[in-house]
Every structure is written in structure tokens, then in C-alpha cells.
């Protein structure tokens, strides 16, 4: 059986020392091993950004796509081969700015893949512009007088979009993150994990310490029912989305594929591509 070391390759990440993304990578590798996966059963599909480089640092099949498009590529992969474990990943700009349309639709579509966002509330790769999740008043290269816009709270958007699995954590808590990712992968349907992954170079506000001080573990809410979407939404609203843990889980909703019947019996890639003579003739007869 594979251990987390089997999910490592010999490529040295080009992330800055101390970047939160290192720990997200480690947590994914541990979670995959923990779930009993083999590297060749996993496909990691990423977008563009510092975070998007992840697909090259995990030993598995990897597809580093274009900015904002990891989700549709990942859904296409899953539709072709339902036996693969598919993880899509990228940054907050990737998923909540240029790729936001895909994010909302992947959430409502509920194809069985896992989406892990490395949310550093900044554009890292392009050297420090504001991002959709940057706080109001946050000073960046592109907002020298402070951001004028309300930040997106990713878990709120996810829940509002019909998500069936919503979680949030911080990259410094590898233990919790690993466990969340394991459960996210096991979830039958689309699982959304927002990970605060500090950018030590361009975000001097939302630091490791800041998250330690400001994130409230969901376990602190007595009697919190993870299956209750209403109370999940209220708790998110009352705490400005600054929560960590599994926020919402609906294990009963059927995935997109499950509702397709025969489609889901066998991976598309194993099917016969040629039509039988009788099928061909029947289909052609419609044109007569």
C-alpha cells in the first residue's frame, strides 16, 4: 500500500520559503495515502497561480491547465473515467475571480471530485494585487488606498450554491486539514475545501498568527449540526466566515453521475467505441 512518501516526486517547489502551500501539498499527500489510494489512481488538476504549481509537486497524474479552468478540466476527466480520484486545486483568484462561474456551477452540478482552494487573499504569482477574498481596506499594489470591495466568503458562496460538502481550514493545521481532505475525497459528490494558505511575501495582514487568533473551530459551537444548512449559514454569517472545520455535509444527495443510470456503470474509457451494425442502421433510418 502506498504511503505519503509515494506521492512525492523529486521536484523542488518554487514557492517562497514559509509559503502556506507547502503544508497544503503535504496534507493532500497524507490524505491520499490515508485513503488507501495509489499514485496512479489520482489525477490532480490545477489552475494558474503560485498554488497552481501543485500538480507538478505531487506524484500522480497531473494537469496544470489555464487560469481559472481547473474545475471544468477536472469534471471532464471524471466524466471520462469515474474510477479516477480527481482533485482540482488553485488559488483564490483562480477560483473566485476568473473561475468563479465554474466554481458556482461545479458546486451546483455535484460531480464527484474534490476542490481545494489555497486561499491567501492575494494574487501571489502576479506579485501582490488584491483578490476576491481580500478584506475591505486591504492595501495592495492594485488597491493603494485600500480595497473598496466586500470580500467573498468562499464557504458562504459554496453553501449558497448548493454545495454538498463544505469545509475550511488553515494550512498550519496539517492534522485537521489532512482529515478534512480525507473526508472530502470520500464524499460522494462535489467537495469544497477552502484552505487559508498564507502568502508570506505579499500578504502581511493575514498571517499564520492572524489566523490563529481569528479562526473559530466549528467544534467550539455546542450542538452544531453539520447536516443543517440553515444553521451552517447562520454560523457563517455571524462569524464573518472565519470558521474552521467541516461546515456542512449532505451525505445523501446523489452525485451528478449517480443520476445518469447506465453512464455510471462503467468508466467511459472502457466502453466499445464502435457502433454495432444494428444500432448504426437504426440511427441512420431516422434520416430516411
Amino acid at each position: 500500500m502506498a504511503t505519503f512518501k509515494d506521492f512525492r516526486n523529486n521536484i523542488k517547489p518554487n514557492w517562497c520559503p514559509g509559503c502556506g502551500d507547502f503544508s497544503v501539498q503535504a496534507a493532500i499527500q497524507k490524505a491520499c495515502a490515508g485513503n488507501g489510494l495509489e499514485p496512479d489512481e489520482l489525477a490532480v488538476i490545477t489552475g494558474i497561480g503560485c498554488s497552481g504549481r501543485l500538480s507538478g509537486y505531487i506524484k500522480s497524474y497531473g494537469f496544470h491547465a489555464t487560469h481559472g479552468r481547473s474545475l471544468p478540466v477536472a469534471q471532464g476527466v471524471k466524466m471520462a473515467n469515474k474510477d479516477l480520484t480527481v482533485i482540482a486545486s488553485g488559488g483564490d483568484g483562480d477560483g473566485f475571480a476568473i473561475g468563479m462561474g465554474h466554481t458556482v456551477h461545479a458546486l451546483k452540478r455535484n460531480i464527484d471530485i474534490t476542490y481545494i482552494v489555497m486561499d491567501n487573499q492575494i494574487y501571489g504569482l502576479t506579485k501582490g494585487q488584491t483578490s476576491p477574498s481580500s478584506s475591505k481596506g486591504f492595501v495592495t499594489k492594485s488597491t493603494p488606498k485600500g480595497s473598496l470591495e466586500q470580500p467573498i466568503q468562499p464557504i458562504k458562496t459554496a453553501l449558497a450554491s448548493g454545495a454538498t460538502f463544505v469545509a475550511q481550514s488553515v494550512s498550519s493545521d496539517i492534522k485537521e486539514l489532512t482529515s478534512i481532505i480525507q473526508q472530502a475525497i470520500s464524499h460522494k459528490g462535489f467537495s469544497f475545501v477552502n484552505v487559508f494558505s498564507p502568502c508570506v511575501t505579499y500578504n502581511k495582514v493575514n498571517t499564520y498568527d492572524w489566523f490563529k487568533e481569528n479562526l473559530i473551530p466549528i467544534a467550539d459551537f455546542e450542538g452544531y449540526d453539520v447536516h443543517d444548512a440553515n444553521s451552517a449559514m447562520n454560523t457563517i454569517m455571524e462569524n464573518d466566515g472565519l470558521l474552521k472545520g467541516i461546515i456542512y455535509h449532505n451525505p445523501d444527495a446523489p452525485s451528478y453521475e449517480e443520476q445518469l443510470g447506465e453512464y455510471n456503470d462503467e468508466p467511459l474509457i472502457s466502453r466499445e467505441m464502435r457502433l454495432e451494425r444494428s444500432t448504426f442502421d437504426d440511427m441512420m433510418a431516422e434520416f430516411k
Partner: protein, 587 residues
Amino acid sequence: MKEQLSWKVGGQQGEGIESTGEIFSTTLNRLGYHLYSYRHFSSRIKGGHTNNNVRISVDEVRSVDDNIDILVAFDQQTIDVNSHELYAGGIILADSKFNPTVDESLDVVLVDIPFTEIAKEQGSQLMKNMVAIGASARLMKLPMEPFKDMIHTMFIRKGEEIVESNHNALRLGYEAMDEKFSYMNITNDFELAPSDGKERLYLIGNDAIGFGAVNAGVRFMPAYPITPASEIMEYMIKHLPKLGGTVIQTEDEIAAVTMAIGSNYAGARSFTASAGPGLSLMMESIGLSGMTETPLVIVNTMRGGPSTGLPTKQEQADLNQMIYGTHGDIPKIVLAPSDVEDAFYSTIDAFNLAEYYQVPVILLSDLQMSLGKQTSDPFDLSRVEINRGKTILEDIERDEDDQDYFERYGDSDDGISARPIPGLKGGIHHVTGVEHSPTGTPSETAENRQVMMEKRMRKLENFVMKEPFKVTGEKESELLVISFLSVNGVAGEAIRRFDPDIVGNITHVQLKQLHPFPAEALYPYLDGAKEVLVIEQNYSAQLFNIVKMNYHMHSKMKSFTKYNGTPFKPNEIEKYIQSILKIKEVL
């Protein structure tokens, strides 16, 4: 007796004009006639004038005629808009309900028949189309039985009674026309000569493309609706579930094309279909396919551009974008089926080429080819081949201690590398749109860049399809006519109107491989021609300029274009050819 006739039915959109045309022409197909039909419609769903022009012939037809012989009118607007198209001596069959009138200066016969009234007497005014079909059948002296059979298959689900009343409506229309003959002065001959009775298909280009895709092994299609591509998606929605497949209607065209890329990467053939606006959105992703060497097929059913342009009108103005679009250099194939029959085979070719060369392939169509309905010989299953090239679908044996990534982008003579699909043992590799090493790891070194760029571009360096174009005529010619897609049929008809014994050879090349441009294969025809004429439907003569880029004798090259949204008519091309050949009078 007439070897061919053009029949047109018109009325308000949403009034059953389409089904009238459908029932009439499908029956004629079953009788063994060759057909070419074209629907005129507007962007409105209800209301607005619509018409269906059906050309019926005992020989092959690939275009509408210059004029029409018979006009069936359900409203006055139909007469006002279309009567000038009638040949001298043509006939209008109009519903008495609206007291039809026609411009008296026109040499046409107006026959009014109570379409609506007869239908109402049979129980529903919806049946007025059956009355009109009955009248048309009588005019052309066609037997009633095939129409009755057609009605039976169409309506039997709704019960015997409905079949019965539709049969009655048909018969009463027939009799009403018959009666007109007894006292009206209808001297012109509208009797249709007998057909060869052969069994043929009668379909729109979009259906041929959909059926082709299914035959190429596609079981998954992501797509976003747009005119005139939606019928391809609809065909797949109708048929894929029975084959264990599915369609996803995505949030936009970027999602559609990147999902198709994901599916192809994972080893299941997939494609998407759209038109200009959608293709514009897909440009970045076409580059992703080219750079990652992931097979991809996109159908572009061209309509009038730019921007929203003329969404329901004919144009061929996306050629430059299809050939040059996406930033940077990638190898890409652009195909243009020569007609509806060829659209079926070309679609299968597109998938095989995409997978063999691991490149994006754009299969072009235009509104007229996508939505125009024409007869075709039945498709031949034995001509359907599936070639997956260097795709690896089985686990790869590796030494126990060999932990290296698979060289997905290993260099080779033909530039094409082995492509294991994800999930295989021994095939782990990385794929990225960033410049990369043979294992797919991002790499920006100058040496690597040069090797990889050359490897990718080498794949199509000498690429020529088995049949890069269809030719009618000789290498030596007075005039070489070059066209593509739906213009082929019209140009072909115009050319046939010239007698080679009088004007000399006119050779016709119907280009199928638009990119890479098959220059070598074309040189003998270009060299052998005294003059070269490129005919296309866009403002800037896009194809003409591409031919010019590839051929030095600019002085003998001429361009003829049309960009008002309507298809060419044969006589427009005929007149232009006359002017080139300096023929003064119509032959």
C-alpha cells in the same frame, strides 16, 4: 414534365411552416427524389416571416435554385416578400382566408384555396398544412399514398381518428386543387418527372456531424447552446443516453471546451460545438490543447459576425480566426466538409486526426450547411475507422525501481509522443500549458524551448489529408473556381451551366483541408489555370488571401464575395464567371 421544381412555403413563425415543409419534403425523399431545402428564419421565436424553400429534382442538387416555381402562402406577407422570386408562369397557392392579392405586373398565377376553412371543417385549423400539401401534390401530379403513409407514421401515436382527419384534409386539398384545374387557366406544367426511386438520407449538416461524432466513439459532449450549432448538441442529447453516454450543458463555452479537453486527456473522445461568439471565448483553451498536445475537436458552425452579428444568417467569416486564433504558435488542423454527406465522414476524420497528431482540430461548417437539409447517399459503416494513434490504454511495464515520470513529451521523428491516459500503471506524467520538459515538468531553458517548439510544430509540417480537396474538372483550365462549405454546391451548379465546348474547361476545387494549407497538392491546378476565382461569403476575402499567400501568380487571381447574410444563388456566380470569361450574352 419537369426534371426539377422549387417549392416554397411561407407564413408566420410558430404557425407550422416548418412541419409543412418537413412532411412534404420527407415524403418526396421517400419517393426517391433529390432534395435541397433551406429554412429562412429570424431570431424571433413566434411571429415574423419564415419560409422553407424545397428544391426537388430527379438528379443531384446541392443548392437552392435562382427562382421558385411554386409558392404556398399562409399569409399576405409571404406573397409580398416572395412573389418576385417566382419564375415567369409560376404559381401561388394561397389561403383564401386572407383574400390574397399579388402585384399584377408579375407573370404569375394566383390560386386561392380555403386551407384554413377546410382544416377547420375537419376539426382543427392546425391541419391547414395538410390541405396545402394535398394541393401541392395534385399540382405536381404526385401519388397520394406516400403522403398518407407519412401521415400515418407521424400521427398514429395520437390515435386513428387524428390520422383519419389528417388524411381527409390532405384529400380535400388535393380535390380543391383538382377543381381549380377544371376552370382556371393553368397552362404551365408543374408535373414532376418520375424519380429513380433510390433510397437516400435526407438530413441537415448538424445531424450528419452528430451522427459522425457518435461513430467516432464520442459518448460525452459538454456544450453551450448557440445558433446554428445547437442541433448538434440536441442530436447528442437525444442519442447518447441510449448508448450509455451523456451531454452536459455547461455554464459557458470555456467550460465546454475545457471539459472536452479534460475528457480527451483522460482517454474518452469528446468534443464541443459552437459558433463565432463561442469560438472567440474558446481561443485560450485551443492553445492549451495545442501546448499540452491533448486531442480536441471543436465544431464551428459559422454564422454572420462580428459580435452577435447576424445570428441566423449565412456567412463564412471566421476562417482567419480559426486558422490563426490563440496566442503563440501551435499546430492545428482546420477542416471544411464539402457537403452534408462529407460532413459525416469528415467528422470521423477530425477525431482520428486530433488523436493521431494530438492537436486541436476545428471542423468548420456554415449556417447553410448546418441547417440546410439535403439528400445524401446512405452512410457506409465499413468506411468508419477509429485510429487512436499513439494513445496508450494498457498498463506500462516498468522496472520495480524505475520511479521516473513517463516521458509523455519525448521527442521523436514525427514529433508525436506516446500518450498514456491517467489511471494506468507506469504512465505517471505531468501535463502543463507552461513550456515543459519531456516528462511534462515546467522548463524555461532556451535549449528545451527550441526542442519542444520544433517537436510540436513538426507534427503537421508535411500534413496532407488523403483528400485535401474534391476536384471536378481538369488540371488545365480556362478558369479554376475555389470554394468551401455550402458555397461548393452553388458554385458547382453555376459551373455546370457553362458548356466546355464553348467556353473551355472550368475546374472546381472544393477545399476540405483549409489549414495547414495544402499548397503542394493545389499547385498543378493553380498552374494549369488561366484564371483563378475564389468564391466565399465574407467581406475581406479571407480564403482568397490565404490562396494568395501560398501562390505567386497574383495577377490571374480574382475574388468574388458576398456578405449580406443571404446565401449565393447560382445565377449570381454564373454572371460573375461570365464577366471573367468575357462572355457578353447569357448562353
